[in-house]
């Protein structure tokens, strides 16, 4: 099992706070702010298969670099985006949070957690769940997301729309 506060690294509590803050930004539709949580080379990734090793040679449900994340976010404000009328909403529960690893040289930590996300639009509620792996950069004051990977329990299922950010 893991240390709660690795040498010079962030405390578990600070990590929890960060993940809850991220969840709240998503729940409240504060997507621009959410985008700013990422590093410039930050990646948001939802694999399409179990233990997918690679987003480059295998399709993914979402695989966003900074540019695609910005496109995704701006589309939520675009009145022409017909699939987003009315705006879908989500609730994000994050639990089972642990610091898996912290490198005091790169100042990166690997955080694992479990999530349940509800998506709602037009009388339909969808339940998603799985495991998050956040790679966070830590500068003693705040975190930045280098990679957020959301591995869905049902990633291989035949999905209808997944509108919201997981």
């Amino acid at each position: 099992m893991r240390a709660d506060q690795p040498n010079n690294g962030p405390s578990l509590r600070s990590v929890e706070k960060f993940l809850f803050y991220e969840a709240r930004l998503l729940d409240q539709g504060r997507l621009e702010e959410w985008g700013q949580l990422f590093t410039d080379d930050g990646i948001y990734w939802v694999p399409a298969t179990v233990d997918q090793p690679d987003p480059i040679h295998h399709v993914s449900l979402m695989y966003d670099d900074k540019l695609l994340r910005a496109v995704r976010i701006r589309r939520f404000a675009d009145k022409q985006a017909i699939p987003l009328q009315p705006l879908p909403r989500g609730v994000h529960l994050v639990s089972n949070i642990e610091i898996d690893n912290y490198s005091s040289s790169s100042r990166e930590c690997i955080i694992s957690s479990s999530f349940i996300v509800l998506q709602y639009q037009r009388d339909k509620q969808a339940v998603f769940g799985g495991c998050y792996t956040h790679t966070l950069r830590w500068d003693d004051e705040r975190f930045a997301i280098k990679q957020k990977k959301a591995e869905l329990a049902n990633c291989e299922a035949a999905h209808e729309n997944i509108h919201i950010i997981l």
Binding site: H57, V59, L67, R75, A81, N161
Partner: protein, 439 residues
């Protein structure tokens, strides 16, 4: 249920040359007839033989309402069998793919060879002196009526009647050729997984949409323009255009751009859009690829291959190909208002890895249920599916450039890209299929 249609009425009346009746999208009885007369009758795409490279490899799927297995019997032969035990009907595999030495039924252990022939029955002597005949074909796994393959694309027909595969493919075979020819080695390999997108809408709405070149400017304006403007804002002027923008920008390319692409229609409902020009034709070159092609084919033939930039080709009703981006979508109807779309990606054998990467990126952006483009199309289908339950009008209009198509050889017809030719051509075939057993 079928409040809109008396089954005894000639379904042919639902199709006129330039419009179709809304009930063909909403009536469950029509759907069952379609399964029987189209999907369980004509050539349906089963899979690509690269999915079962080794002897014993199998891939389980459905044709219409019926579970089947595609598998590699020997190194050279791919077979398609009903996924059904001859004994009491259990499916012989429960998983989607795998490798087996034989098919051993999980219920009572009847065993079949990988050509489907009955191998062994536990306590077989119990059948002595009964009507059971182990040599009756019904005592083995049944093969579907006909299997055909073209450059690795495996099709099957559950009916012994109808045209040969090559005859049925006339006109659109070239789209498969162009896709396969883009591999320096001339061969394809399915790779990179599958995206499975469930649509609560009729399968024909999806199929129509593919060669509907009037829709991108409106439906995809949001994703395409947002991508353009975001890139403009975020990137410096002289930065290279990212691949994602190369992919998304052409979706709002202007009506004349789409009109210029052109449309070609063929017998049996097939068609393709694009040709010399398509939304894929302005992609940047990938280092070393042209070289690999030229060393395989020579410069002239390479030029020929690259000059063909078809957009979507529809092998009516079940397969659609985007050759220039090495991606296919497969149509699996489930109910009158439910359709599964599978998106698969090909690796071009002998081509640089970067091509596959671009195909994967394309597939993510366009075909994922969680991304930008696909949900725009799906929203259009959803609005149609619900709107068509209204009696505001009974007809779906397909008049655009009616009578202006040019007749070419072999049943081919050509039109400008924004013509409704592809729709009309699909419903001509639909009517033929659906009324064949009535007349």
């Amino acid at each position: 249920m079928s409040a809109d249609l008396d089954v005894d009425v000639d379904v042919g009346k639902l199709v006129e040359p330039d419009r179709v009746h809304r009930s063909i999208y909403t009536d469950p009885t029509i759907f069952q007839l379609e399964m029987e007369r189209i999907f369980e009758h004509t050539w349906i795409y089963v899979g690509h033989d690269s999915q079962v490279p080794d002897p014993g490899d199998y891939y389980a799927t459905v044709i219409g309402r019926q579970p089947v297995i595609m598998f590699r019997h020997t190194d050279t032969k791919v077979k398609v069998l009903y996924n059904r035990c001859a004994h009491k009907g259990a499916m012989l595999v429960g998983d989607t793919c795998g490798n087996v030495q034989q098919f051993s039924c999980g219920y009572h252990g009847w065993c079949y060879d990988t050509d489907g022939s009955l191998k062994s029955i536990p306590l077989e002597k119990g059948y002595d002196g009964t009507r059971f005949d182990r040599n009756d074909p019904q005592s083995s796994m049944r093969s579907v009526a006909r299997v055909g393959s073209y450059r690795g694309f495996v099709f099957a027909s559950l009916s012994p009647d109808g045209p040969e595969l090559r005859e049925w493919l006339v006109g659109v075979d070239a789209s498969i050729d162009n896709l396969a020819d883009r591999a320096p080695a001339g061969e394809l390999e399915i790779t990179g997984g599958v995206l499975r997108y469930m649509h609560d809408s009729n399968w024909k709405l999806f199929v129509e949409n593919l060669n509907d070149l009037m829709h991108p400017m409106k439906v995809h304006q949001s994703s395409s323009m947002t991508a353009r403007t975001t890139a403009k804002k975020m990137l410096s002027k002289d930065a290279p255009v990212p691949a994602a923008i190369e992919i998304l920008a052409p979706f709002s390319g202007g009506y004349s751009f789409f009109d210029t692409m052109g449309l070609h229609a063929f017998d049996y409902g097939h068609s393709y859009s694009g040709g010399k020009v398509s939304i894929h034709s302005a992609y940047s070159d990938i280092p070393d690829y042209v070289e690999a092609m030229e060393s395989a084919y020579g410069p002239e033939r390479t030029q020929d291959i690259f000059s063909e930039n078809r957009h979507n080709t529809i092998f009516y009703p079940s397969l659609t190909i985007k050759g220039a981006i090495q991606s296919i979508r497969v149509v699996r109807p489930i109910a009158v208002d439910r359709t599964l779309i599978e998106s698969w990606t090909f690796r071009l054998k002998g081509a640089p890895d970067a091509l596959l990467q671009r195909s994967i990126l394309y597939c993510n952006l366009v075909n994922s249920s969680a991304n930008l483009v696909g949900p725009e199309d799906y929203e259009a289908y959803l609005r149609q599916q619900h709107g068509l339950s209204s009696q505001g009008s009974d007809w779906v209009l397909m008049h655009r450039n009616f009578g202006q198509e040019r007749d070419l050889d072999n049943g081919e017809r050509a039109a400008n890209g924004t013509s409704d030719l592809a729709f009309r051509n699909q419903y001509l075939a639909w009517k033929n299929y659906m009324t064949a057993t009535i007349s």
